[in-house]
């Protein structure tokens, strides 16, 4: 018996790591087949001779796609947006460190690599870069995991760079864990501290700049963080660079095993994440994101952020709004089943969403199995029935749908289920979801056109994610939502 039991235990132990890995990537939403009717995925072929591990994406003024790669090349791709794609790859620049961000402005490509921001230009007009101007390399770079991700040029021509911590946990080199702004003449201005392992950087529709943050210490899950000048964004390892920043050191440090809602009142510089993405349900390693300014070419989601996830090979949406001077908002499932780990996304002039990335043989598991891919999500022209956006109100939420709802079901409070939870704000890695509440929906009021529903709640909980289950909502035409879920992060409750 003892032997049999021992064998059983050994078997369980042997299986455990595998089960764990599967859990890590979670279950798929299960919506891929339905999503494909509205948003088909198109593969953009890559020739065998091209070492393509896409990192940064940009659209050139002549309409070509630009791809910056981990090999340190920049390719200009003609025909990537044709149907079917007929890509022709032209090598514009080479020999750089790994490129994760690209931005074109005034006849030059600005690439951000691990160690610097470089303005790359072709001065003799032969189509190949011959000038590599380093705008800055003044942040510390000397350890593994010290990533640097950057925005496009802001209206003043600045590049915003989010600098990951050293070896992912500490800050050993100058400004690791900070966001900095690099001016067109190469001045580096430190902006805010407290980042952990940020990825994509970019503005929302109102022009406020955000960075995507990864789950880890002081971060219960991935989140979208507002890069507010002078802010502390949650991870205190980067406090040591205040003396180099020209800013005053915050008087307090956050306490571990607390809540963001409590600590933001103690540490006045602390700005809470604007949108939290519940772990696995909504991404595991969110990477690049981009504001949809296609003017309807990509369907009904203009002005929203589209975010790629590396581990889960998915695309999500997010919306933001400012309440009491603080940014917050919601995230929504959008598309799953991409071919590889998504590192970056970009909108084409035709309103297609380019999603590109790679897998690695290092520790990160990825759902998509292709070693690298350049893909495109096209809009079929058919509007899916989706919750388009959720906005907070003083006593509830306003849900906006892409198509009119069936008013009978929409008017019944029991059509909706909302639960709330938050994370432990702690120095340990990640957090379980804690402090669950279930607010009561006291009233559900559809608008006359059926496009919005006003949900009145008995209680909105500050610092909580409000997790919406909308599975019972029906469209006027009778169909169910393409995605049932949405997650709204409440930092502030409107006073009016």
């Amino acid at each position: 018996m003892v032997n049999a039991r021992t064998i059983l235990i050994l078997t369980v132990l042997a299986l455990a790591p595998q089960l764990r890995a599967e859990e890590d990537l979670g279950e798929m939403w299960g919506t891929a087949a339905e999503e494909a009717k509205y948003y088909p995925i198109v593969n953009i072929p890559i020739p065998a001779a091209v070492p393509m591990r896409p990192g940064g994406l940009e659209i050139l003024p002549d309409g070509r796609l630009a791809v910056g790669t981990r090999r340190g090349d920049i390719y200009f791709v003609k025909g990537a947006f044709d149907t079917p794609p007929k890509p022709e790859y032209h090598l514009f620049a080479s020999g750089q460190d790994e490129i994760f961000s690209l931005s074109w402005r005034d006849g030059a490509m600005t690439a951000t690599t691990w160690g610097e921001v470089t303005r790359i230009s072709d001065t003799d007009g032969d189509g190949v870069a011959d000038r590599y101007d380093t705008l800055t390399n003044n942040w510390g770079y000397g350890e593994y995991h010290e990533f640097a991700f950057a925005s496009k040029h802001d209206p003043e021509g600045n590049i915003w760079v989010a600098l990951g911590l050293s070896s992912s946990y500490e800050s050993h080199n100058l400004f690791r864990g900070w966001a900095v702004k690099v001016t067109p003449d190469g001045k580096m201005i430190p902006l805010c501290s407290g980042l952990r392992s940020p990825a994509g950087v970019g503005p929302n529709a109102e022009g406020a700049m955000f960075a995507i943050e990864s789950q880890g210490p002081w971060n219960g899950c991935c989140s979208l963080k507002h890069l507010k000048e002078g802010a502390f964004l949650g991870h205190p390892a980067s406090y040591n660079w205040y003396p180099f920043s020209g800013m005053k050191v915050p008087e307090r440090e956050p306490m571990s095993d607390s809540r963001m809602g409590i600590e933001k009142k103690r540490v006045k510089e602390l700005v809470p994440p604007a949108v939290r993405f519940p772990y696995i349900k909504m991404g595991r390693s969110i990477s690049g994101f981009r504001l949809n300014k296609t003017g309807g070419k990509f369907g009904p989601f203009d002005g929203q952020l589209f975010l790629g996830d590396y581990s889960l090979s998915i695309i999500m949406r997010a919306t933001t709004e400012q309440v009491n001077g603080v940014w917050q908002g919601a995230c929504y499932p959008f598309r799953e089943g991409l071919a590889t780990g998504i590192m970056n996304v970009e909108f084409s002039p035709k309103g297609q969403l380019i999603a590109a990335g790679f897998t690695t043989n290092r520790q990160w598991p990825v759902r998509g199995t292709e070693p690298f891919a350049l893909q495109r999500i096209d809009w079929s022209g058919v509007v899916p029935f989706e919750v388009k956006e959720i906005n907070i109100r003083k006593d509830g939420f306003l849900l906006t749908f892409t198509k009119p709802v069936n008013k009978d079901t929409a008017a019944r409070p029991d059509t909706y289920t909302i639960t709330t939870y938050t994370h432990i704000y702690q120095g340990a890695y990640g957090s379980p979801e804690v402090d669950q509440t279930t607010p009561r929906i006291t009233e559900a009021t559809p608008s006359a056109d059926g496009l919005t529903v006003y949900l009145h709640l008995d209680k909105i909980t500050e610092d909580h994610i409000h997790d919406f289950d909308l599975g019972k909502v029906l469209a006027q035409a009778g169909q169910h939502l393409l995605h049932n879920k949405a997650y709204y992060t409440v930092n502030e409750i409107p006073r009016e």
Partner: protein, 618 residues
Amino acid sequence: MKRRLVFLTLLAVVSARAADRPNIIFIFSDDHAQHAISAYGSKVIQTPHLDRLAREGARFTRSFCLNSICTPSRATLLTGQYSHLNGVPAFNRFDGSRDHVAKHLQAGGYHTGIIGKWHLGSDPTDFDRWLVLPGQGAYWDPAFLAPGRTLTIEGHCTDIITELGLEFLKTRPKDKPFFLMLHHKAPHRNWAPAPRHIAMFKDKVIPEPATLFDDYATRPTALPANEQTIARDLSRRDLKLAEVLLRGKRQRDYVDAAMPQFGEANVGHLLELFGKVDQLEAAVFPKVANILESKNAGYEMIGTDGLSCIVCHEFNGQKSGEMSALDLARVTERLKKNWFALYMRQPSRFHPTVIMPSFWPDGQSTRPAILGGDTAQQIEALWSYLEDGTRAKKPVGLSRQSNELRVGDTTEICRGQSPVGYRGIGVGYPERISLAFDSGEMALRQLWKGDFASIDLGHFQPRGTDAISFPPGIPFHRLTSLEDNWPYKGKTNHAFPQDHGYQFRGYTLDAARRPTLLYHYGDIAVEDFFEDARDKDGQAYFKRTLRFDAPVEQSPFYFRAAAGKKITATDRTFTVDKLQVRITSDHQGVVREGENGDVLIPLTLPKGRSTLTLEYQW
């Protein structure tokens, strides 16, 4: 304990004529370890003639033998069948009535011969001429079996077999193609070299292999059961290793280990003679009016906008398609121009099943737009372009997948984590010299020769040889006293070197894609340019030009040109170990001696532009 490798090395030589029925010599050496041939990486044994075969012919790197031991191995060679099919699974008799290679070639009109080691129990069949050793044969004064008789020849077996082979070539019927299997007994045990080779390794220290005391823990389970081991089976007469291993004697007697080397010497004159036995007709080469135009046409044809040669052929080690046919950058090194010109016109003439198509069917070019469609000019253009070898301009469509970054006719750059820091810039120049620069501290950190660099995502690693390293640190500084230390970053100076007035500003590329590195030292704009050059002896070296642009006259500061423990100076040439730094502008250097010695060049810059020039040779 070390298992003994039983390994056969097979060498096939196909004659230069190689029309529809090529002449064939098959050279066999018995129990010859792959690592006893320098073409396969032997560091001890040098085999220049075998290496020449490998270099000018084909070197097999993924071949397997069907059976690796003695008699069964030769049966697999003759039949091309596994041992369970050819009837010789052990040391038993080969049935000569079976199908085998000589039978087919003889039927096809070949004059066939086998000379040397046979040891297959039966007499050879289907060989027009045969002279084989009985059984294992003897190293000295061996007996040979011939049809119906036995003869004994004085001398060393390897020399005799070679002589018999030469005689076969000279006396063969000239109206037939031939097939000769020249089977050496050497270097099979018991290793008795000819007198001229006995003391070959007398003064040479041969390191013990790393696996000498391998405990088989990580090896396949069959290996420990191997019956032949150095400790158990090799006799005193063999290697005397048992005494080293079991009785603690230190010195191994290497005299008897010279076998693989001496077999080598018997290949050289065979090759010469073989080259003379048949000749191709002479191709007619056209007159080239404009060599640049010709090379450029060759460049166009090789790439994917032309004949797409690189889709099947490697080019300078880069594979662009699924196949890896002969590396085009080595064509002119490995082929004779006459053969190339004839082959290109009709590849199928040389091998009926060749995959390569003819681009000049019936002598007509399929690309009339190139060089007026002139067949001879086009083939000549391919050759003249390929003559640039690894320095030829990289063809259109060439794959960039390789992790080895190779330099062609223009400079290559790679950046990232490297032995010179996380902000390293590696630059490989066409003269086959390279440098690594740290863009964090604006410092030249390494020079090397030969191959450029291995690259990986965000990383590079210098390759090549003759590396010269420079210590980390900034190039310029205003030392208050020559006694002061040159500043360095250290662990806590996080603002270094910006706190010393430095700012890296990138680089520009010239037409040959050589970078001019740009940085600021205080208000001085610095342009730092390295140029690869060759001296009159053909040695590559760097010329370095530092151009300064100062908005105001500068107070004196130093440039650190080199550093090291032992520095010697002659006029304005400074020698640090293997490196020579020469100042070629109107500046003087100061040597600081000691453990942290260096060469400092005092600079007093005027307002406006000024220049410092140096040369680095090593």
